[in-house]
Amino acid sequence: MDVTLPSPRPAPPATWAGLRRGFVRAQPMSVGVLVYGMAFGLLARQENLSLIESLAMSLFIYSGSAQIAAVGAMGQGGYVGLDAVASIASAVLLLNARYMLYGAALWPWLGAAPVRLTTPTLFFLGDGNWVLSMRAHADGENDLGYVLGSGFAAFLPWMAGTWLGSAAGSLLANPAALGVDFLLVSFSAAMGVGMFRARPDWAIAATACAAALIVDSVAPGGWTIVAAGLAGGIVAFFRFKAE
């Protein structure tokens, strides 16, 4: 029975040491972010965005899929009217819906932290640093700085990549040849194995996998992540047994 609420959690620690830990641990991922940022910078240049415009997008939007959608609309010239802006913004809400799930999952950890710390932490949130942080949290990491530091570790190469791609064009003829597009998949696979080993749960894994594959066959892209995450959460919700 769910009658006993856990006592309110204390605010998590937020230290420079935690920030440093997250920043250092996220470094292997930053290579992929740099190349992805370069790809965006190059695309933006091809659509005649100036360097400042490209950097402003990466700084304020900080989301590859959202920026590509915005730049794509600019290429077609339809980005000025209110209806065009509203439709692109709604598309971005759907493209990034998975972040709602990421934020919710961070709540038990960071919910009691002050807003002045959680706001930048959420601003710098990305797929890679969320996966990394949740994995570390399952192993006992409790410092808010870890999430912020690993997020910052991805934000910096995103800006640097945008600048390189926009200013210098593509330095890499074919990023896929280096496997950088596989980075997030590879990290998720490795960390998924680690998490599964620590707490094996076949029902959650199988349901998440089925949900991902079903949605992938209809609407590939970010929605497979949302479907898998929700499906796994729902299974855990209903199978929960109070100890």
Binding site: S50, I61, A86, N96, Y102, A176, S186, D201, A208, I225
Partner: protein, 99 residues
Amino acid sequence: MRADLVPLLAAVAAASFFCRVGGFWLMRFVPVTPRVEAALKATPLAVMIGIVAPVAARGRPAELVALAAVALVMRFTPNDLVAAMVGVGVVAVARLLAV
């Protein structure tokens, strides 16, 4: 900076930021019962599976070999960063060989 770009930039930035803070903010109004906490705890693994499963299902040899390599490395070391980098290396080599 073109002036007519500003509304688009502002709207897309707002939408992106809303997604980042929205789920976290909504949880203010959800009592975190042990059951809800179990659901939230299950999402990271489920999301990781959601990222990997579609790639595995595409069945391209380079990716499959790389995922097998990740699983293999994870058998011998607890270091998931090492396993992940091995996976990226294998996919790069496999794509190079396939030409």
